[in-house]
C-alpha cells in the first residue's frame, strides 16, 4: 500500500466541530436603525446569499451551489462543482466520463436523476442517463445550481426518482460587458472562455459566449497514459427582454463539438484465452439546442409561462452511433385560490426522434423510432396556519408509449417553528420509466469461458424486453433547517427509500441459448426482478466565521440494500448496492485575508467502493477510500482582473474513483493537477 495522508474520517469530523465551536466567539450587534442613510451606504453585508432564502422555505432537501461557490472551488466543469453537494455521489471514471447520482445507484449509466439546464432536460432518452462530458456552460455565467435530493417528480417529471439538478444561468441583463478567461495546466491543458453582453434596446439584453477546454488523459495503475484525453468547444447566446406589459421573454441557444478518446475491451468469443480485444476508440459528440420562454403575470396573484425547446445531439463511438432530436413544449400556471391556497398546474409534451447506428456489439431495433410523451401536473400549497404550517399536495400524471399512464403523487408538510428553524417531512412516489434500450436494445456484455475442453465459450448479451416495466420508489423524508446563530446555518435530511421492480437481466425462464459459429449465444432479457431499500443522512453546515472567512461542511451517509429474486441470474444489484460510498465528507474553507485575495481550501473524503459491474477481472477489486485536497489562491491586482492558481487532488499523485463501464473496464486514476488562469472583465 502506498503511503498516503489518510486521517480517520470520524476524528476529522470531531476536529471540524471543535473548529466551529472555537470560532463562535463574541459578536457585536448594534441597532442599525440608529444609523443615517450615509452611514448605511458603507455597511458591508455579511449574511449568506439571499437567493437561497426562498428555498429555505421548501419542504425538500435542497442545496444551492452559487456562482461564488463554483468560482472559489476551482472546478472547471459542472460535475466537479457538484462534489460539494451533500447526498450526491460524483466519480470521475475516465478523463471524459463521470458517474453522478443522488442517494445511490451511481454509475456511468445512472438513470434515476433528472438534470436540467435553464429548463431544458439534458438526459439522453436512449438510456435515461446523462453524458456529463457534453453538458457544459460558461461557468462564470452560471447563477446557481439547485440540487434537490429525493423525488421531485411532481413539478419536474419522470426520471426525478432520486433527485433533480437544476443548472440556472444568469439573465443577459446580469452579464453585460466582456469577460475573458485563459488558463493552462498539467491536467487542464487549455482553458479559454470569452463572453460579451450588450444592450440591444431598452429592457432587452443579449450575450454570446464561446469556450474551449482541452483535458489530459488519466493514468493507468501502472502509471501509463490512459488514452482518454479529450476536448470540448462550445458557444451560445442568450437574449432577455421585458416588454412594456411586464411580460418576460428569454431566448437562448448553444452549440458544441467534442473530440474524445476512450480505451475499450471488447468481448470476443473467438479470441481465447482472454476473450477480449482492445480498441483505441476515437469518437465525436456534437449537438445544438434552442430554447424560448415567455412569462406573463395575469394578475397580482397569478402568472403563466410557456416554454419551447429543440435539442439535437449526435454521438458516435466504436460500439454504437446515436442521434436524438427532441422537441419539448411546456405550459405552467400559478394562481392563488382563496386566502390560503397556492395552485400550480402544467401541461407538457415531448417528442423524441432517434436514430441508431448499430454494430455487432450494441444495436437497437428498430434503428429509428419516434415517440411522444404527454404529461400534466397539479400541485396545491395550503397554508394550514399562516406562515407556520404548510401542506403541499400534488401529483404528476404522465403518459408514455412504453408503460402508458404513470401517476406520481407526493405529500409534503413544512412547519416553520420559528424564523430560524423549520422542520419538514414528505412521502412521495416516483417512477423511472423504461429507456429505449431497456425495450429494444441488444448489448453484448461478456464472454463466459468454456467450462470443459470440448465445450464452446458463451457470448452473453443483455437484450431489451417489451414487457419491461417502470422502476418505482416510495420515499419517506424528514428534514430540519435551522440557523442557531446568525452566522451559522445547518441543514439535516434523513431518508428511507423503498424501491420496487428494479432492473435485472436474465430471468431463468426467459433465457435463450442458440448455437452460433464457434460459440454459444446467450440472450438475457431485461426484467424487473429486484427490489430493496436505501436509507441515509445528509448534513450541511454553512458558517460565516468572520466577515472574511466562510466554512462549509457537507457530510453524507448512505446504505443501500438490494435483492434480486431467485428467478434471476442477475447479481448486478448486489454489486450496485456496494458501488456507492457509504460516507462522504466535503469541507471547504473560503478565506479573504485581504479583499483582493482569495485563499480557498477544499478537503474531500470518499469511502471505498466497488465497480458497478459484475463482469471482467476487476469486478471484485476494491476501489480504496480516498482523501483529497484542492487549494486555490487568487489575486485581484485591480478591479476586473483576477489571477488564480489552483492545485487539485494534492494529497496523492493519483487515485481511482471508478470504472467507466460499457467496455471501459480498465482501472484509471485521477492525477494531481495544477493550473493557472487569468480572468479579465472589460
Amino acid at each position: 500500500m502506498r503511503a498516503r495522508f489518510q486521517p480517520d474520517p470520524a476524528a476529522t469530523l470531531i476536529g471540524i466541530i471543535l473548529l466551529l465551536a472555537g470560532v463562535t466567539a463574541a459578536r457585536g450587534d448594534g441597532d442599525l436603525t440608529e444609523l443615517s442613510i450615509e452611514e448605511l451606504l458603507d455597511v458591508k453585508v455579511t449574511s449568506v446569499g439571499k437567493k437561497t432564502q426562498s428555498l429555505s422555505d421548501a419542504a425538500a432537501a435542497v442545496f444551492v451551489v452559487s456562482n461564488e461557490d463554483i468560482r472559489r472551488s476551482g472546478a472547471t466543469s459542472i460535475p466537479d462543482a457538484l462534489r460539494m453537494v451533500p447526498g450526491l455521489q460524483v466519480k470521475r471514471l475516465d478523463a471524459n466520463k463521470w458517474a453522478i447520482s443522488a442517494r445511490g445507484f451511481s454509475g456511468r449509466f445512472a438513470n434515476k436523476l433528472l438534470v436540467l439546464i435553464d429548463g431544458r432536460t439534458i438526459y439522453t432518452p436512449s438510456f435515461s442517463g446523462v453524458y456529463w462530458e457534453n453538458q457544459d456552460a460558461m461557468l462564470a455565467d452560471v447563477e446557481r445550481i439547485e440540487v434537490i435530493r429525493g423525488p421531485g417528480a411532481t413539478l419536474w417529471g419522470a426520471n426525478a426518482v432520486n433527485g433533480v439538478i437544476n443548472i440556472i444561468t444568469k439573465s443577459a441583463a446580469e452579464t453585460q460587458g466582456g469577460l475573458a478567461e485563459v488558463g493552462v495546466g498539467s491536467e487542464e491543458r487549455a482553458i479559454g472562455a470569452l463572453r460579451y453582453g450588450g444592450k440591444l434596446a431598452p429592457d432587452t439584453y443579449a450575450r454570446f459566449y464561446a469556450k474551449y477546454n482541452e483535458r489530459d488523459a488519466l493514468i493507468t495503475t501502472l502509471g501509463e497514459d490512459g488514452g482518454d484525453d479529450w476536448d470540448l468547444g462550445q458557444g451560445g447566446f442568450r437574449v432577455d427582454s421585458v416588454f412594456a406589459s411586464g411580460d418576460r421573454v428569454t431566448f437562448k441557444g448553444d452549440l458544441y463539438h467534442s473530440r474524445l478518446r476512450q480505451q475499450l475491451e471488447i468481448p470476443d468469443p473467438l479470441a481465447a484465452p482472454t476473450y477480449t480485444e482492445s480498441v483505441d476508440d476515437r469518437m465525436t459528440a456534437e449537438g445544438w439546442n434552442l430554447l424560448g420562454r415567455w412569462e406573463r403575470a395575469l394578475s397580482v396573484s397569478s402568472n403563466a409561462s410557456f416554454q419551447f425547446y429543440y435539442d439535437h445531439s449526435d454521438r458516435n463511438e466504436g460500439y454504437v452511433g446515436q442521434r436524438h432530436d427532441i422537441i419539448d413544449l411546456d405550459f405552467q400556471q400559478r394562481a392563488k385560490a382563496g386566502e390560503r391556497q397556492d395552485i400550480v398546474w402544467g401541461l407538457g409534451y415531448r417528442g423524441i426522434d432517434d436514430r441508431f447506428h448499430s454494430t455487432d456489439l450494441a444495436g437497437l431495433t428498430p434503428s429509428r423510432e419516434n415517440r411522444n410523451l404527454w404529461s400534466g401536473f397539479l400541485q396545491d400549497e395550503i397554508e394550514l396556519v399562516s406562515e407556520r404550517l404548510r401542506l403541499t399536495l400534488g401529483s404528476k400524471v404522465e403518459h408514455n408509449e412504453y408503460t402508458g399512464l404513470e401517476v406520481q403523487p407526493n405529500l409534503r408538510l413544512l412547519w416553520k417553528a420559528s424564523e430560524q428553524s423549520s422542520l419538514w417531512g414528505a412521502v412521495s412516489r416516483a417512477v423511472r420509466t423504461p429507456s429505449r434500450a431497456e425495450l429494444s436494445a441488444s448489448v453484448t456484455t461478456r464472454v463466459e469461458a468454456a467450462g470443459a475442453p470440448d465445450s464452446l465459450p458463451i457470448l452473453v448479451s443483455s437484450v431489451g424486453d417489451t414487457g419491461y416495466k417502470s422502476e418505482s420508489l416510495i420515499a419517506y423524508e424528514l428534514g430540519l433547517r435551522t440557523a442557531p446563530m446568525k452566522r451559522l446555518s445547518l441543514d439535516v435530511a434523513l431518508f428511507y427509500n423503498d424501491y420496487d421492480q428494479l432492473r435485472t437481466s436474465g430471468t431463468i425462464s426467459e433465457l435463450e441459448l442458440s448455437l452460433a459459429d464457434g460459440y454459444l449465444d446467450l440472450e438475457m432479457p431485461f426484467d424487473n426482478e429486484a427490489s430493496g431499500h436505501g436509507y441515509g443522512l445528509e448534513v450541511s453546515a454553512d458558517f460565516q466565521a468572520r466577515d472574511w472567512w466562510r466554512l462549509v461542511l457537507a457530510y453524507s451517509y448512505l446504505d443501500l440494500d438490494l435483492k434480486a429474486s431467485a428467478e434471476t441470474l442477475d447479481t448486478s444489484n448486489d454489486t450496485q448496492a456496494r458501488t456507492d460510498p457509504r460516507q462522504q465528507i466535503s469541507f471547504r474553507s473560503l478565506m479573504n485575508p485581504r479583499p483582493d485575495i482569495d485563499l480557498d481550501l477544499w478537503v474531500r473524503y470518499v469511502d471505498q467502493t466497488y465497480p458497478a459491474f459484475d463482469v471482467s477481472r476487476y469486478s471484485d477489486q476494491l476501489i480504496p477510500a480516498y482523501w483529497t485536497l484542492d487549494l486555490r489562491l487568487a489575486w485581484r491586482p485591480r478591479a476586473g482582473l483576477e489571477l488564480a492558481i489552483v492545485g487539485q487532488n494534492l494529497l496523492s499523485p493519483s487515485h481511482q474513483e471508478g470504472y467507466s463501464d460499457a467496455y471501459g473496464n480498465i482501472p484509471l486514476e485521477v492525477q494531481r493537477g495544477l493550473y493557472g488562469t487569468i480572468r479579465l472583465a472589460f
Partner: protein, 187 residues
C-alpha cells in the same frame, strides 16, 4: 499493540489536533459586527419613512399611524422590518402589517414587496400605480419596472435606486437628501 492500531490512533490525533489548531487560530481573530441584508433593508426603510412627504389625504394628523406593509412571503426581512413596529417617524407611530399575495393594500403608506412576488411584479405595480404608497423592494429591476425605491447590492453593500417619476405620479415627494445618495434616479 499492533502497528495498525498505532496508525489509526495517529490518524485520529491528527484530525483532532488539526481541528483544535484551527479553532485556536479562529479565536485570535477579532470579532467583527455582523450585518444581514434583511436588517439593512429594514434600517433603510426606517430612514425612508423619515424623508418622504405624503399628501395630507394619505397621512393627516399625527394621531394616525404610518402603516408599513410587508407584502408576500418575507422570510428574515419580515422579521427585521417587524422590529420597526412602534418606532416614530415624522411624529407618526409606525405600524407594521403583513399582507399575503392578493390582499388589498389600500391603507399602506409604505409597501415593501418581498422577493417572492417577483413573478407578479407588473400587475402589482399597476394596481398600486396611483395610490400614495411608497413602494420599496430588492427585486432586481424594480425601479425600471415602475417601483419607487429599489435596493441593490453593490460590492457587498446595499445601495438604492429611485424612480422619481413613479413617486411624483403617486403624489409623494422624496427629500433631496435621499435623492442625492441614490445610485440612479429615474426621472
Amino acid at each position: 499493540m499492533s502497528p495498525k492500531t498505532r496508525v489509526d490512533r495517529f490518524r485520529g490525533r491528527v484530525g483532532v489536533v488539526a481541528g483544535l489548531l484551527l479553532a485556536w487560530l479562529a479565536t485570535l481573530a477579532p470579532a467583527l459586527a455582523q450585518v444581514e441584508e434583511a436588517e439593512l433593508s429594514a434600517a433603510y426603510l426606517y430612514n425612508f419613512s423619515k424623508f418622504v412627504h405624503w399628501p395630507a389625504a394619505a397621512l393627516s394628523d399625527s394621531s394616525k399611524a404610518l402603516v408599513l406593509c410587508v407584502y408576500g412571503r418575507s422570510g428574515s426581512a419580515g422579521e427585521a422590518i417587524g422590529a420597526l413596529d412602534g418606532k416614530f417617524a415624522q411624529g407618526h407611530r409606525i405600524r407594521v402589517e403583513r399582507h399575503a399575495r392578493g390582499d388589498a393594500l389600500n391603507d399602506c403608506q409604505i409597501v415593501y414587496v418581498s422577493d417572492s412576488e417577483r413573478p407578479y411584479l407588473s400587475p402589482l405595480l399597476r394596481a398600486l400605480a396611483n395610490q400614495p404608497a411608497l413602494t420599496v423592494s430588492d427585486i432586481p429591476g424594480f425601479v425600471s419596472a415602475g417601483g419607487m425605491i429599489g435596493l441593490v447590492m453593490v460590492d457587498s453593500r446595499l445601495r438604492f435606486e429611485i424612480n422619481r417619476q413613479s413617486a411624483e405620479a403617486a403624489g409623494l415627494s422624496i427629500s433631496s437628501q435621499v435623492l442625492k445618495l441614490a445610485t440612479q434616479v429615474v426621472r
